[in-house]
Amino acid sequence: MMTSSTNSVAAASMAVNASRARRSVLNRKLVLTLVAWTIALMMFFPIFWMFLTSFKTEAEAISTPPSLFFTPSIDGYIEIQARADYFKYALNSVVISLGATLLALLIAIPSAYSMAFLPTKRTQTTLLWMLSTKMLPSVGVLLPVYLIFRDLGLLDSRTGLIIIYMLMNLPIVVWMLYTFFKDIPKDILEAGRMDGASTLQEIFHLLLPLTLPGIASTGLLCVILSWNEAFWSLNLTTSNAAPLTAYIASFSSPEGLFWAKLSAASTLAVAPILIFGWMTQKQMVRGLTFGAVK
C-alpha cells in the first residue's frame, strides 16, 4: 500500500517534471525562432525594398510616405540597359570571381597541404601572419598596387582583378583548407602511402574527395567575396574589365541620384549572387560545419 502510493506520487512528479521540461524546450524553440526571423527580416528588408523601388517610377521612388502599392513598371530596367550594357559587366564579374576562386584554390591546396601535413616550427606563425594581412586596410596598399599594375599593364584588365582578388581571398582560403585537412585522420593518408600513392595521387584520390564538402564551401565563399568586392574594382578598372560593382557605381554620379534606376541596377547586380547563394546554401552550411559533425 505504502510503496504503491509513493510510487504513484513519484510517477506523478516525474510526469510533471517531464512536461515542464518539454514546455521549457518549446519555449526556447519559440524564442529562437522569433529571434532568427527578426534578424533574417532585418537583413532582408533593404534588399526587398530595393527590389520594390526598382519597379517604381522616379517620382514614386522618392515620395513620402513611401508607397507600398503602385503599378510596377520596368522602365527603370530598360533605361539603365540603354545606358550601359549589363551583360558585359556581368560577364566580367563571372569571369573574375570564378577565375580568382580557381586560382586561389590552386595555390591554397598545396600550401594548406604542406602546412597541415609537413608542419615546421614556423607554420602556426605563418598562418597567423597570413590572416593578419586581412586586417590591413586595402587603401594602405592602393598606391603601390596601382603603380605596379600600371607598369605591368594590368590596369583595367580581368587578369589584374583576378590576381588581386585571389590575393585578397588567399589567407581565408588557405586557413579554411588547412583546418579541413587537419581533420583528416593521419592513418588514412599513411594507408595511402603504403598502397603506393605519390603525393599528387594522395591529394587527388584521398585528400580532395575527403574534403570536397569543405573545399566546395570554401570555393563558394571565395566566389561570393570576389563578386561583392568593390574597392579594387573601382580603383583598378575603368570600362573593359569593370565588374558589376563598378556598374552600380557608374549610376550614382553624373546627374544626381535616381533611386529607381539605381535600384534597378543594384537589383541586377546582386541578383545572380543572391540566387547562387540561395541555391548553394545547403552546401555552404554542410561544408562550413564539415569538421564539426564528422
Binding site: K121, P185, D187, I188, E190, A191, G192, R193, M194, D195, G196, A197, Q201, H205, L206, P209, L210
Partner: protein, 415 residues
C-alpha cells in the same frame, strides 16, 4: 620468400627547436631476425616503442640509425610502397569515400593494373575473407569486424611478402577477437607470408606467435618462442610480463650455492633448493647471503596445510573450473593490494594462487601452500634470471605443433 633483419635500429624524436631542442631516444638499438613465413609478435608495455618499430619497418618513419634489410637488401631508403609490405592499422584506416571493393583495389589502381585484373584479385581476396556480398558497401555501413576484414583484405590484395599488424583486433569485442584470431592464424597458414604483429593481448601473443619479442623502453628484453618465454624468462621484467595472472615475487636469501642448484631461505625459515645455475647469463655469480627475488607463477602454487608459505585470503574469484585466491604476501608485506592489479613488477605485495574450482577456502582464512621448486625462478637484485639447469621439455615446441593442419601436412608428405 621473405626475411626481415633489423640491425642496431635506433630512433630518436626531436622536439622543440633551436637551443631548447631535445632529443628522445625511443628505440635504443634493436636487433631482430625474422625468418620466412614466421609469425613474430611484439609485446611490451604502452609507450615502449612497438608501433614506432613497426612504422620504421613499414617505411612510414625513418630510422635514425641502423639497417633494415628485407631478403638481405638494405631498404632504409626505399619508399613504403616499394618495400613489398602491407600494414593493417589499429584504426582500420579504410578510405571512407570508397566502396569495400575500391578500398581493396586502390593499390592496384595506383599501380596501373587493368580493371578486369583488379576485379579478379579483389574478388579472390574477398572470397578468402567472406567479403563478397559487401564489396559495394561503403565502410560506414560495416560492422567493426567487417571493417577489420576489409583492412586485412586490402593488405592481402597487394600480395605482400610481409604483413604488419599494429594491434589489429584491439577495437573488437572479445568474441569477435577470438574469431578473428583464428581467422588470422588460418590466413597465415594459407598465404604463407611473414607476419609481424603488435598486441597487448597475452592470449594473442601466446597462441599466434612463432616468436615473441618483448620490448621495454625501446630495448628488446627477450626474444623467444612463447613456451620459452613462459618457462625460461631471461629477466624479471619478462617473467612478470608474460603469463596471466602475473608471476608472484618474494624476497629470499641465498643459503647455499652448489652445482645442483641454489638454496634459498623462505620467510618461515625453511629452505628450498631451486635448480638454477649460480650465475646469470651476464653478471657476477651469487654467493651465500645474497638477497634474491624468487618468482612462482600463480598456477604453480599448490595448497598444502604444511606448506612453507602462507597468507590470508583477501579476495576469491571463482571461475567454476578454477578459483583465483588473492593472498597477502607470504613475507607479511601484503597490505591487501590485489595481485592482479599490481601497477608494475615492482609492486610485490599480494600473491595470487590458482586453485581447483572446488576449493572451499573463505575470504579471511589463513591458508598455507607450497610450490614446485622445479617451477620456481630466481632473479638477482638487477632483475637477471639465474638460468634453469633443466630445459622445460616443451620449450622446443613450435606453433605448428599445436594445430591439426601441420599434422595432416606431415601425414600427406608421408604418403
Amino acid at each position: 620468400m621473405s626475411t626481415l633483419t633489423l640491425k642496431n635500429i635506433v630512433k630518436e624524436f626531436t622536439s622543440g627547436s633551436g637551443a631548447s631542442a631535445s632529443t628522445t631516444q625511443v628505440i635504443k638499438g634493436v636487433d631482430l631476425e625474422v625468418k620466412d613465413q614466421e609469425f613474430v609478435v611484439f609485446v611490451g608495455p604502452s609507450g615502449c616503442g612497438k608501433s614506432t618499430l613497426m612504422r620504421m619497418i613499414a617505411g612510414l618513419e625513418n630510422a635514425t640509425s641502423g639497417d633494415i634489410l628485407i631478403d638481405g637488401q638494405r631498404i632504409n631508403d626505399v619508399g613504403p610502397a616499394e618495400r613489398g609490405l602491407a600494414m593493417v592499422f589499429q584504426s582500420y584506416a579504410l578510405y571512407p569515400h570508397m566502396t569495400v571493393g575500391e578500398n581493396m583495389g586502390f593499390s592496384l589502381k595506383l599501380a596501373g593494373v587493368s580493371k578486369e585484373e583488379r576485379a579478379k584479385k579483389v574478388n579472390a581476396a574477398a572470397d578468402v575473407l567472406q567479403l563478397g556480398p559487401l564489396l559495394d558497401r561503403k565502410p560506414k555501413a560495416l560492422s567493426g569486424g567487417q571493417r577489420q576484414r576489409v583492412a586485412i583484405g586490402r593488405a592481402i590484395v597487394r600480395n605482400p611478402s610481409i604483413f604488419l599488424f599494429d594491434e589489429p583486433l584491439s577495437n573488437l569485442d572479445a568474441a569477435l577477437r577470438v574469431q578473428m584470431r583464428i581467422e588470422l592464424a588460418r590466413l597465415h597458414a594459407e598465404l604463407k607470408a611473414t607476419m609481424i604483429y603488435v598486441t597487448h593481448d597475452q592470449i594473442e601473443a601466446m597462441t599466434m606467435a612463432d616468436k615473441i619479442v618483448v620490448l621495454q623502453g625501446g630495448v628488446v628484453e627477450q626474444i623467444g618462442s612463447p613456451m620459452e618465454l613462459y618457462h625460461h624468462p631471461r629477466n624479471r621484467f619478462v617473467a612478470g610480463f608474460i603469463g596471466s595472472p602475473k608471476m608472484n615475487f618474494l624476497d629470499v636469501t641465498v643459503t647455499d650455492v652448489q652445482a645442483e642448484g641454489v638454496t634459498v631461505r623462505l620467510p618461515d625459515d625453511s629452505e628450498s633448493l631451486v635448480r638454477v645455475a649460480g650465475q646469470p647469463e651476464a653478471g657476477s655469480a651469487v654467493s651465500v647471503g645474497d638477497r634474491l627475488t624468487m618468482g612462482v607463477r600463480p598456477e604453480h602454487l599448490i595448497l598444502d596445510d604444511s606448506g612453507p608459505l602462507g597468507g590470508q585470503v583477501q579476495v576469491i574469484e571463482r571461475l567454476g573450473g578454477v578459483t583465483s585466491l588473492y593472498l597477502a604476501s607470504p613475507d607479511g608485506s601484503g597490505d591487501g593490494k590485489i595481485g592482479g592489479l599490481k601497477a608494475d613488477d615492482q609492486a610485490d605485495s599480494g600473491w595470487i594462487l590458482i586453485a581447483d574450482g572446488d576449493v572451499a577456502s573463505r575470504v579471511g582464512d589463513n591458508i598455507r601452500y607450497t610450490f614446485d621448486s622445479a617451477r620456481a625462478h630466481l632473479f638477482t637484485s638487477d632483475g637477471l634470471a639465474l638460468p634453469s639447469l633443466d630445459r622445460h621439455p616443451l620449450t622446443g615446441l613450435t606453433r605448428q605443433d599445436n594445430s591439426l593442419s601441420s599434422v595432416s601436412a606431415a601425414q600427406a608428405t608421408d604418403v
